[in-house]
């Protein structure tokens, strides 16, 4: 293999780093997106036997949004292996203990259970907030687009914008606002 071809090979199989903002995102929908990047399914060179998976840095995992009342109803099961060792932890309890755990488990479950899965998971970095170590952040070259639009709260919009925003109708004079 000539020197030029060798460099071409390195370029094609280079591992790139992606960042994903979990803010207001459903972890189980996001997991399907993150999984594709972790396994390299988004690449035209993908083949199950070549090692072309990328690294994904997931930030703001503390601010994920579960659907409906799933914070209260979804339970995570664990068994210690001893008799009576079963335990069910609700999603909100698990999230309080470790804010990265729900997204980690969602990505793990989204992938097919084979020998490669644990190695693929090693390429996923999850951070509960905005703070990402500098040595991790400097590798990032791409951002994965979110699925849902992050809503803006009314109190985060400046006063002038709210004042000048067009109104469909005015409240009547005698209308009592709660």
């Amino acid at each position: 293999m000539s020197a030029a071809k060798r460099v071409q090979q390195w370029a094609t199989f280079a591992r790139s780093w992606h960042i994903f903002d979990c803010k207001w995102q459903d972890p189980y929908e996001s997991a399907n997106i993150i999984k594709k990047y972790l396994m390299g399914l988004h690449k035209p060179i993908y083949h199950p036997m070549n090692d072309c998976g990328d690294v994904v840095v997931a930030i703001n995992s503390r601010d994920i949004a579960l659907r409906g009342d799933e914070w209260r109803t979804r339970a995570y099961f664990h068994h210690t292996g001893y008799p009576g060792g079963a335990s069910w932890t609700l999603a909100w309890e698990l999230h309080n203990k470790d804010p990265t755990m729900i997204i980690k488990k969602a990505v793990y479950r989204a992938m097919k259970g084979n020998l490669q899965r644990r190695h693929t998971m090693q390429r996923l970095f999850i951070y509960p907030g905005e703070n990402v170590p500098e040595d991790v952040l400097q590798n990032v070259t791409n951002q994965i687009r979110q699925i849902r639009l992050v809503p803006t709260r009314l109190d985060q919009i400046p006063e002038e914008v709210t004042k000048t925003y067009p109104k469909v109708m005015d409240y009547p004079e005698d209308y009592v606002l709660k």
Binding site: T141, Q143, R145, R148, P166
Partner: protein, 187 residues
């Protein structure tokens, strides 16, 4: 790939280096014909030796031909090649015509071709004219200088326009009248 091909050496289709362009180098170096003088299984082999072998040796001066008569053993052809390959072939009960064809195969082939499992039926040194794909082909150039994470690159840009946004745009267009070209939208 079936189980019986598991232990073959994998390889690609290839031509011997420029062989036949300008000059031809016969890749077969030595051929040993083993046969029995009395056994019926060697009948075809004996016919070949009586009728064709001298002509074969004259036409191919680069090939060493050995005859190895041995009593009450099956007829065998062993061919040895320039690249060190050795092909052992039983010609038990083969007729004269069949043996002529098999020896022609052994003479013209380049090595022990049957011992490689072809990974693909085609091969090229230049798989792409445009250049193979890399992670940076068709990437937005703005990403090179962008400070990530950045909501401009992270937000979903494929959502349909909301009713509120549409109303606002209608309002703005109404307010501006003719100057609707330089309208600022939320996207």
């Amino acid at each position: 790939m079936s189980a019986k091909h598991m232990f073959l050496k994998p390889g690609f289709v290839r031509a011997p280096l420029q062989n036949g362009i300008g000059r031809y180098v016969c890749q077969l170096q030595r051929i040993v014909l083993k046969f029995c003088k009395s056994n019926g299984a060697s009948r075809g082999m004996r016919d070949f030796i009586e009728q064709d072998l001298v002509d074969f040796a004259k036409v191919n001066p680069g090939v060493v031909v050995y005859l190895k008569p041995r009593r009450h053993r099956g007829p065998v052809v062993v061919a040895e090649y320039l690249n060190g390959d050795r092909v052992w072939m039983s010609v038990h009960n083969k007729t004269h015509a069949e043996i002529t064809k098999w020896i022609e195969v052994l003479r013209t082939q380049q090595g022990n071709n049957a011992s490689t499992r072809l990974r693909k039926y085609q091969y090229t040194d230049h798989p792409s004219i445009q250049g193979p794909w890399t992670p940076f082909t068709h990437k937005l150039p703005e990403l090179n200088t962008a400070e990530l994470p950045n909501p401009a690159f992270g937000a979903n840009n494929r959502l349909p326009m909301s009713a509120t946004e549409q109303l606002r745009l209608m309002f703005e267009a109404q307010k501006l009248g003719e100057k609707s070209d330089d309208l600022k939208t939320a996207e």
